[in-house]
Structure formats: structure tokens, C-alpha cells
């Protein structure tokens, strides 16, 4: 089975590879949005927007999480929520750009994004043990090498790698729980 990173590499010229990535994460991303918006229509629109943005920026993906695109997609989903709240309307710029909006022919959401959607947005990360959270932030968010993460955390590259892997594992579990809760 191809890793997420391999799928994204293939997706530069192969839409089917991107669809395979979508199939892997659609439920998680949808659960992420539904948990925050508590609105089925909004959650679907935001899910479509998240993957549309991911498609448009797929070349910028950097494999910093051992082949997983999960943190990268969650980061995009988080931004889509934040953009929606800031503009007080569901963000649809990427779906519109790709010509998906009218084709989806979905019932448009009537909810207005508000600040509450942002609550708990980073709670999954915040709940991680400090060492794992810092290692993940340095590696995934800041894009440091494991050598540099190790220096920043005053540990060895091997230990830094273990912390990142554990943090990713916990995040994955948390997201699956979120999804179950949302359904």
C-alpha cells in the first residue's frame, strides 16, 4: 500500500491517487468539521473546501510526519475553519476555483461561522505530553530536521523521532475518537 506521501507525489499528475488519499481521510476531516460546526451542510462544504485546497497546494506538501498526510490535512482543515470564522461565511474559494461548487449542487449551509468554531481547535495537540507536542510542533509545523528537533529539545535525534511518532499516534487516535463522537 502506498504511503500518503507517495500518493501526494503521484497526485501531481494523477487525480486517482488524490482520490485515494481522500478516501483515507474524508471521514476524519468531515468529523473534524462536524464536531466544530455541529451542522451537517457546513461540515460537508468545509470538507470539500479542505480537500480542494489540499489539491491546489499538493505540490507544497513536505513529508515531515513519516509519510503521513494527516497532520498536513488537519492543518488545512484548521485554516479553512479559521478563514470561515474570519470572513463570517463558509470558505469556498478553492471549491469555486475548481468549479466544484455548482456541480456539487448541495443544499447550502445556513449557519454563520462564529468564534465558537475555533474553540478546542488545537485541543488535540494541547492534550499531548509536552515533550511530544513540542517535538511535533518543531518537526511538523516548523519543518525542522530531526537533528534540529533534537538540538531544540536537548535530546538525541533518535529520541526526537520517537516523540514525533508517539505524538502522531496519539493524534491519530484522538481524531478517530472525534470522528466516532461526531457520528
Amino acid at each position: 500500500m502506498r504511503s500518503d506521501a507517495e500518493l501526494l507525489r503521484a497526485a501531481r499528475s494523477d487525480p486517482a491517487a488524490f482520490r485515494e488519499l481522500y478516501e483515507r481521510y474524508a471521514r476524519q476531516i468531515h468529523g473534524f468539521h462536524l464536531r466544530r460546526t455541529r451542522d451537517a451542510d457546513a461540515a460537508h462544504e468545509l470538507t470539500a473546501e479542505t480537500f480542494a485546497q489540499a489539491w491546489l497546494s499538493r505540490r507544497r506538501f513536505r513529508d515531515r510526519a513519516s509519510g503521513s498526510a494527516g497532520p498536513w490535512l488537519i492543518g488545512i482543515a484548521r485554516n479553512v475553519i479559521a478563514q470561515s470564522v474570519r470572513r463570517r461565511r463558509i470558505e469556498t474559494s478553492a471549491t469555486a476555483k475548481l468549479g466544484m461548487l455548482e456541480r456539487l449542487d448541495e443544499p447550502g449551509s445556513t449557519v454563520e461561522p462564529d468564534e465558537r468554531w475555533l474553540e478546542g481547535l488545537d485541543e488535540a495537540l494541547a492534550e499531548l505530553p509536552t515533550g511530544e507536542r513540542r517535538a511535533l510542533e518543531l518537526r511538523v509545523v516548523d519543518g525542522l530536521s530531526y537533528d534540529d528537533v533534537a538540538i531544540a529539545l536537548a535530546t538525541t535525534p533518535g529520541a526526537a523521532r520517537v516523540r514525533v511518532a508517539r505524538g502522531l499516534g496519539r493524534l491519530r487516535t484522538r481524531l478517530i475518537d472525534d470522528q466516532r463522537e461526531a457520528l
Binding site: A11, S13, P15, A16, F18, R19, Y22, E23, A26, R27, H30, A40, H44, T47, A48, F51, A52, W55, L56, L98, G99, M100, R103, L104, E106, L183
Partner: protein, 126 residues
């Protein structure tokens, strides 16, 4: 299949279709570039040449000066017509310019006179 699965599946179908359209659109940059490049107007504001005359005064001289002054225009086989003598020329490129330059609007291109002395900078506008 529940309602959520149905809707997520629909997004999957539309996303893949949109991705195919997006790739197809991006695979023809040279064609788009050629369309952009077919008509360039060379504008030489009189104020920029106060006190001196543009050395290349004929449309043919201007056409010849374009590839001479700008490497990216080499091989484009421009032909020009006078819009306003010594001020504005309308030039058509028979071939698209170097593909690394995708938008020529508003760029300033040097030209070289027939004697290869010095250069003049002419703003290009689409």
C-alpha cells in the same frame, strides 16, 4: 450507505473530476502563452525621449531591435506597424517568446540600434 457516506462519495467524484479538469488546463501553458503573445504594443512615451530621437525610426527597425535587445524574444520573428511615429508601435510575434516568461504585460524591454550602440528601453504593453 448512510447520508454522510453518500455526500462524501459525491464530493469524491466531483473532486476527482475537478482535478482532471485542473490538470488538463495546466498542461497547455504554451498554447496560452502564444495567445497572449500574438499582439504586443510597444509604447515609447515621448517624454522618455525628450531631447533625442529614437534611433530606430522605422517599424522594421523596431521589429529587428526587439530580439537584439531581449534574449527571450530571439526567434519570435516580430513584425511591427507604426501606431505613432517614434512613440508607439504595434508588434506581432510569429512565435511565442521564451516559455519562462509567462506575462509580458507592463514589462520594459531594451532595444538595440542597428549600429549596436547603446540601448533604449521601451515599455511593452499588451
Amino acid at each position: 450507505m448512510d447520508a454522510t457516506s453518500t455526500r462524501l462519495e459525491r464530493i469524491a467524484v466531483e473532486l476527482e473530476a475537478a482535478a482532471r479538469r485542473d490538470i488538463a488546463r495546466r498542461r497547455s501553458p504554451r498554447r496560452r502563452l502564444a495567445l497572449v503573445a500574438v499582439a504586443l504594443a510597444i509604447l515609447a512615451p515621448a517624454a522618455a525621449f525628450a531631447g533625442e530621437r529614437l534611433i530606430s525610426t522605422t517599424a522594421a527597425d523596431v521589429a529587428e531591435s526587439m530580439p537584439a535587445g531581449t534574449l527571450s524574444l530571439a526567434g519570435t520573428q516580430p513584425t511591427c506597424t507604426v501606431v505613432t511615429a517614434d512613440v508607439e508601435y504595434h508588434c506581432t510575434l510569429a512565435k511565442a517568446p521564451a516559455p519562462e516568461v509567462s506575462d509580458w504585460k507592463g514589462t520594459v524591454e531594451p532595444t538595440v540600434d542597428a549600429m549596436k550602440h547603446g540601448e533604449r528601453r521601451l515599455p511593452l504593453a499588451r
